[in-house]
């Protein structure tokens, strides 16, 4: 691994993103619009907004970053530049980390925008500290990015990458505790939800919403999310092949 090369990849991806206004708008503005829509839906029932707001602040950035990252990364494969890079003195982890850093920067901006809007303008109220809300939102966006990086390794075309969205993301949304508390799920599904990353993201948000002081459970959720992020990057690097058929 070489930090110079990792940095060069991150800078390059950011330059490409800066030129792609539509993608940038999707990443930065769309989660804000979705949260605003939610607020409007529950205009007459603020308590529902307060209950659904924090978990959805975890879910929206996660989905958007997952989608954008998996498709964007796939372009590298289809353009032949991935093969070229892997024939050069570049560690696989340099590439994955470079992407993760670039999209992580965008994820950071995105999550901060969405949290400021939700708390500042839309009047979302949570019991826990606001900085923690921002931290969890940023982490979830980064989680979406790194999982997107990972699945793009298993797709040949952009169309296939998009197919991962209903296959891998929607079940996580259903089982993450947003619709039914996880403890109220049938045992099998409860166990399944235990191994899905989004469950921990939503759980952390729900704790923030209820508890003034953060406890060990919150720390555990954060640790699990970080664990998924690290594992996704490592696995993503491991699945890259310098030689192909």
């Amino acid at each position: 691994m070489n930090p110079k090369i990792t940095g060069a990849v991150a800078r390059r991806v950011l330059t490409q993103l800066r030129r792609d206004h539509r993608t940038l708008a999707m990443m930065l503005v769309l989660p804000c619009l979705l949260v605003s829509l939610l607020w409007w839906m529950f205009d007459r029932n603020e308590q529902v907004f307060d209950r659904l707001g924090p978990p959805l602040l975890a879910v929206f950035p996660f989905i958007v970053m997952f989608l954008v990252t998996s498709v964007t990364t796939l372009r590298e494969r289809s353009s032949g530049t991935l093969e070229r890079l892997l024939s050069m003195p570049m560690a696989k982890l340099d590439l994955l980390l470079g992407y993760a850093i670039a999209f992580g920067v965008v994820a950071l901006v995105q999550a901060l925008l969405a949290v400021s809007l939700t708390v500042g303008l839309l009047g979302l109220e949570v019991a826990g500290p606001l900085w923690a809300l921002a931290v969890v939102a940023v982490l979830d966006a980064i989680l979406g990015t790194t999982l997107g990086l990972l699945v793009s390794a298993f797709a040949e075309t952009e169309f296939q990458a998009v197919q991962f969205m209903p296959a891998l993301v929607i079940p996580q949304i259903l089982l993450c505790g947003l619709f039914v508390p996880r403890s109220a799920l049938p045992d099998v599904l409860d166990n399944v939800s235990d191994v899905l990353p989004l469950s921990y993201a939503v759980d952390a948000m729900q704790q923030l919403q209820r508890l003034e002081a953060l406890d060990n459970d919150f720390g555990l959720d954060i640790a699990v999310i970080v664990g998924f992020v690290v594992a996704a990057v490592a696995l993503g690097a491991a699945t890259l092949r310098r030689r192909t058929g």
Binding site: K4, I5, A8, V9, R11, R12, T15, Q16, R19, D20, S79, G80, T81, E83, R84, L85, L86, S87, M88, P89, M90, R242, R243, T244, G245
Partner: protein, 246 residues
């Protein structure tokens, strides 16, 4: 780059018993050859004959099912070779949403080449006036020249160029072949594929390929003498006819 003394004594690429199967089809049944140093070796044959697959094996990006490929004494694709082998794929492998300069600067930092080297290779491929254009806005020929410039960035000892002159105008083609000749004189080993037989005359050595096998491996002049043909295309046909006879 290699110096000329090395060039006189070593073969830079040694392929032995190379077997590649792609999608259930045997592309290279068991190919053996060597490529001498400091020369331009032309790899000629119809499309689908295995030229690209052989080049991918030399670069070390192709899965193989048997045999060995050694480049500069190392196993192809080994980490020690990644800066010493330059590769230009058939389709231009550059970023369409970056400018010519940004493309070169990026690959230069991956290769650890000095930034000034980017400007040198941009001039070499004649793209000095388009440095700030997005690669995606360039014509097909210009984009493949960006790709060629990337292959030259690290001043590699071995350059593997897959159809580098496709779709270029004759003046530019002549200019690029001049560049290849200069690089070879400076000690680089250049392997160029083409399906245009008239480019063969510019090579020091020719490998004619058909159905994954080499049907000739010789200097252009002696290939003509040997087959009694007056151009490479006729020589190719003569060799195919010879093989067909029992």
């Amino acid at each position: 780059m290699m110096n000329s003394m090395d060039a006189a004594t070593t073969s830079v690429v040694e392929v032995s018993g190379l077997r590649v199967v792609r999608g259930g089809r045997v592309v290279l049944p068991g190919l053996s050859t060597t490529v001498p140093a400091g020369q331009i070796t032309g790899l000629l044959g119809p499309s689908g004959c295995g030229k690209t697959t052989l080049m991918r094996c030399i670069v070390g990006v192709q899965k193989t099912q048997g045999g060995s490929v050694r480049v500069l004494g190392e196993e192809s694709g080994s980490p020690a070779l990644r800066r010493r082998v330059g590769y230009m794929t058939q389709a231009p492998s550059v970023y369409d949403d970056l400018t010519v300069r940004e493309n070169l600067r990026f690959f230069a930092s991956v290769l650890g080449a000095p930034g000034a080297r980017s400007d040198t290779v941009i001039d070499t491929v004649g793209l000095g006036s388009s440095v700030d254009s997005l690669a995606g806005r360039l014509s097909g020929g210009e984009r493949s020249r960006v790709s060629l410039a990337v292959a030259m960035l690290s001043e590699p000892a071995v350059m593997v160029l897959d159809e580098p002159t496709v779709g270029l105008d004759p003046v530019l083609r002549r200019q690029l072949w001049g560049t290849f000749a200069e690089l070879a004189r400076a000690g680089a080993t250049i392997i160029v594929s083409s399906h245009v037989m008239d480019e063969a005359a510019r090579c020091d050595r020719l490998m004619l390929m058909r159905d994954g096998e080499l049907i000739a491996d010789d200097e252009p002049a002696s290939l003509l003498a040997h087959t009694g043909a007056h151009d490479i295309e006729a020589a190719f046909l003569a060799l195919v006819d010879q093989e067909a006879r029992p």
